[in-house]
Symmetry: C2
Subunit: 125 residues, 2 copies
Amino acid sequence: MIIDLDLQSEIPIYTQLVQTIKKGIALKELVPGEALPSVRSLAADLGINLHTVNKAYQLLKQEGYVFIHRQKGVVINPEGVPKADEVYVEKLKGDLEPLIVDAICRDMDEERFIQLCREQFKKFR
Amino acid sequence: MIIDLDLQSEIPIYTQLVQTIKKGIALKELVPGEALPSVRSLAADLGINLHTVNKAYQLLKQEGYVFIHRQKGVVINPEGVPKADEVYVEKLKGDLEPLIVDAICRDMDEERFIQLCREQFKKFR
DNA sequence: ATAACTGTTATATATATAATATAACAAATG
DNA sequence: CATTTGTTATATTATATATATAACAGTTAT
């Protein structure tokens, strides 16, 4: 799995890590039950601090993406990622709003916006 | 125009301000050519610092949402907000990706996602 | 003219976040 | 017994956020 970080980005490194791992799951490059590298080895591979990796893992755990076994390691949730529930949908609506507000202000057609979404979805099939 | 800020939010105040003003434009509560409050009066109304308001206005200016006349004031771009161009579309794709990655990981149906987008669009018609 | 108002610039401070550097701990594994 | 796991703790640096004051240079209204 390729993880290319942009250390100059305004997006925190741990956020980039979280997104990359989620993308790996969406692409099925990472499957339920699969072990992730230890915080130390991944940090060494990426040339970053182990606490930065740990923070990413903790966030993934909090969202139900991974299980963390104290003396074993980090594993993609064997049950699969928790399904979309009401809390998640409300959060998604809140995240979508500013994107759609921008699109409307810039006079982008609803159907064009939808088309962009469909193209993104297509990348994961 | 109602601006309710959440000072405890992890979202910076100036970002909340930018989003609220953009939403006002999308809802046509704010129209091209319309003057916005001065940095001082808006800051006083909201109980925040004038530099926080100024930062929001500068970002809106940078994105072409407003014009700032040095000794006159801030005005919604009379020409209207710049249309969606290629740069914008690329940025939108990048902003959509993490939302769609999450949706896919949580096994949300593409059509359900689209449906949520359409509902958001409906709020602005 | 003068006072009040505009955005702008400058300086300083306080707080929080992000990232790093070390070190040590407890439990499991080789 | 040494190594590896995540965890916890402490400290430091840098940056972002927000505030507080003050002053400046034009513009507008009185």
